[in-house]
């Protein structure tokens, strides 16, 4: 493709590359979904059909490395990148172990050249990597895995609970998915830095976003920018008529939802986020919060706090679809929330340890708030001149991980399934 001058030929190669990549992804991830829905549709129309679904295991991380490989092909097609002749470097780019199974989805333009260069050990980079790994571990083991216990209990028995307890379950899942996924990203990025590789930032404190547009610039950045560059902009982006803009937003969020899994709940989650986003786009407010909230200030203003809380509330609501087993479960969960118990304090005696976890979450948010100007929560620690202070904080984090980390059961990273 790189050598071909004929545009049609180049397009043909690109199409072939995309078809092969999407073909693998579709076969492993979406075959059964489409089959089940075809059977359901035909049965509904009075023409029942029989077909055998595939009994196959989904390769770990397939959605991540498929997108990574596709970005390489598209960038070569667009002549943004020279095709590599170094098979080892290319293989290492596709299968780089820290980010292979759950991202960040790296662009070839960022990662591939790093394999060409000989690397020298960089003390600052390595210590910063270790620090990021430590923070990622805290997020995963203390925040995400503890939240998982409560959110699993509440979501798996949602018919037993009502009102505020269901809200509590959704809030716990909101922190679970953030701690789980951004924790993994921190560990992956930190590990890579130990080896001298710099990966792209994947999360930029999304729960401090003031609107949903800002949230999507800060959540799973490597996927959002992938869709922006390879789908949204080619579709026309925010150009064209209002109808076209709305169409583009719906497409990008629906595809994003479907990328997460072959389930209607992910499509509903994507649709809901599109609905959140569209008013901002139509009123030209989608780029009003590009900077860091309350930069150079200790606390947000009341207005900022209100915006953050509203955005957080919308996010919590949308995560219900993401977490639910199916659409019926999601809808019954939501209808359970809107009961007379909504304004009552949840019965914490049913969830021993939940108060401690909430205190830990508050502490976690305070650290993240203080560190929001950096790449990750405690990245600012490198500027503390006293080694005693720095090391004391590291030891404190290690002790907190040891004491409060959830090791009672093995809880997998959520994004491993994608």
């Amino acid at each position: 493709m790189d050598k071909a001058e004929d545009k049609l030929k180049r397009k043909g190669f690109l199409l072939l590359s995309i078809l092969v990549n999407i073909g693998f992804l579709g076969f492993f991830k979406y075959y059964n979904f489409f089959l089940d829905n075809f059977i359901l549709a035909f049965t509904f129309m009075g023409m029942p059909i029989k077909a055998n679904s595939l009994n196959i295991i989904l390769p770990v991380g397939i959605s991540f490395y498929t997108f990574q490989t596709m970005s390489y092909s598209i960038d070569v097609y667009r002549k943004k990148l020279k095709a590599t002749k170094d098979l080892v470097a290319f293989s290492a780019f596709v299968s780089f172990f820290p980010q292979l199974v759950a991202g960040p989805i790296e662009r070839a333009s960022n990662l591939l050249p790093q394999f060409y260069k000989s690397r020298k050990f960089d003390y600052k980079q390595a210590t910063d990597g270790l620090r990021q790994v430590l923070w990622g571990l805290f997020k995963k083991v203390v925040i995400a895995d503890n939240c998982a216990e409560f959110s699993n209990t509440i979501f798996n028995n949602s018919s037993d609970y009502e009102g505020s307890t269901l809200v509590l379950g959704a809030v716990f899942f909101t922190f679970q998915i953030y701690g789980d996924f951004s924790g993994y990203s921190d560990i992956a990025i930190g590990t890579s830095r130990l080896f001298g590789f710099n990966l792209t930032q994947n999360f930029a404190f999304p729960y401090f976003s003031r609107d949903m547009a800002e949230f999507w610039r800060r959540w799973h950045i490597s996927l959002s920018t992938w869709f922006r560059d390879y789908l949204y902009i080619p579709l026309g982006g925010s150009m064209g008529s209002e109808a076209q803009q709305i169409r583009n937003i719906f497409i990008i969020f629906l595809v994003s939802g479907f990328w997460h899994g072959a389930n209607w709940t992910f499509i509903a989650w994507g649709t809901l986020n599109a609905i959140y986003f569209i008013p901002l786009l139509l009123f030209d407010k989608n780029r009003q919060h590009l900077g860091i909230v309350a930069l150079d200030k200790k606390f947000p203003s009341l207005r900022e706090l209100f915006s953050i809380l509203c955005t957080f509330g919308l996010t919590v609501f949308s995560w219900i679809f993401f977490r639910a087993e199916n659409m019926n479960h999601a809808l019954s969960y939501i209808s359970g929330i809107f009961s007379k118990e909504l304004f009552e304090i949840p019965d914490f005696s049913l969830f021993p340890g939940a108060i401690t976890l909430l205190i830990l979450i508050i502490g976690f948010l305070l650290v993240e708030w203080k560190g929001r100007v950096g790449q990750y929560g405690i990245s600012g620690m490198k500027s503390i001149p006293s080694r005693v202070q720095r090391w004391s904080i590291y030891i404190l984090i290690i002790v907190v991980i040891d004491i409060f980390g959830n090791t009672s059961e093995e809880i997998e990273f959520i994004y491993f399934q994608f």
């Binding site: 939940a354 108060i355 002790v399 040891d402």
Partner: protein, 297 residues
Amino acid sequence: MMIKLFLRHVSVFLLLLVALNFLLFFLIRSFYIKDYDEVDLGYSEYLLADSHGTPLGDFTEIHDVHNFSGQSDSYLDMERKLKFLIRNTTLEKIYISVDDHTLSPTRENQNNLDRSAYYADTEDFSSFQEFIRNKYLKYYCVFLNDRYSLVIKNFIQYELFDFSRWGGVRSKSSWEDLSILEQIEISQDRIDNYFELPNPSQIMSESLNRIIAICKVKNIKLIGLRFPLSKTYVGILNNESYDADSIFMNYDIPIVDFDSLFLEQDFMFKDMDHLNKDGGEKFVEILFDSLENKDLL
């Protein structure tokens, strides 16, 4: 040069962690391990039980029996202790708890395997690495021992910061001061905890069978004990039991059953099935009188 500096700093940091580990170990030792690793080897008769045996305290020593019970001891822990006693004493008789719950699958998780590793020897483990891991690494390394972390976590949650106002901690009133409804609720919690599954734990059953076999081979007299239970607890326990005593019956091993001894005396209890100190003292008196009458002493 840079990598040397990095490795040196990492090494110093790890040494600091090791130092912190020992500091934490001594802290944990003072309130968790406490006297678990202390045993008087001057006896030939020992009582092996879980928390039901601990209220008997030193009162058994009047009858030349050393109380070697430990809170949450499982049969696996008792088996280790038994082997330790065989190695270090001239053991003649063992009194062992055969209560309804002692074969519960819950005991597979709620036990003292981390602490009883102190009494273990290479023969108690499948490999030498397992022995080193359990007896030394997990025992002395706070960061590798989940139970130590849990103990500190519970201490912070329930002792340092009392969340009882949030309804998260059980009332600490004595058993007789609780209303019947409170007694029923707490008893039901315990039953739910221990009798969740219909079948006994295979691991615990096998361990109890091994204890019996060891005692038989070593010519050690074994006597099963069933400890007193409160009336409310017995009332809702119904026939829930994993029948540890039936294993004893199969081998014709004597059992002294006292589960209805204090049915009308709630003041003898700390909670639904644990005696308080007075109850423990009184029970020892009655137990050894009974053993004498049955010619089991």
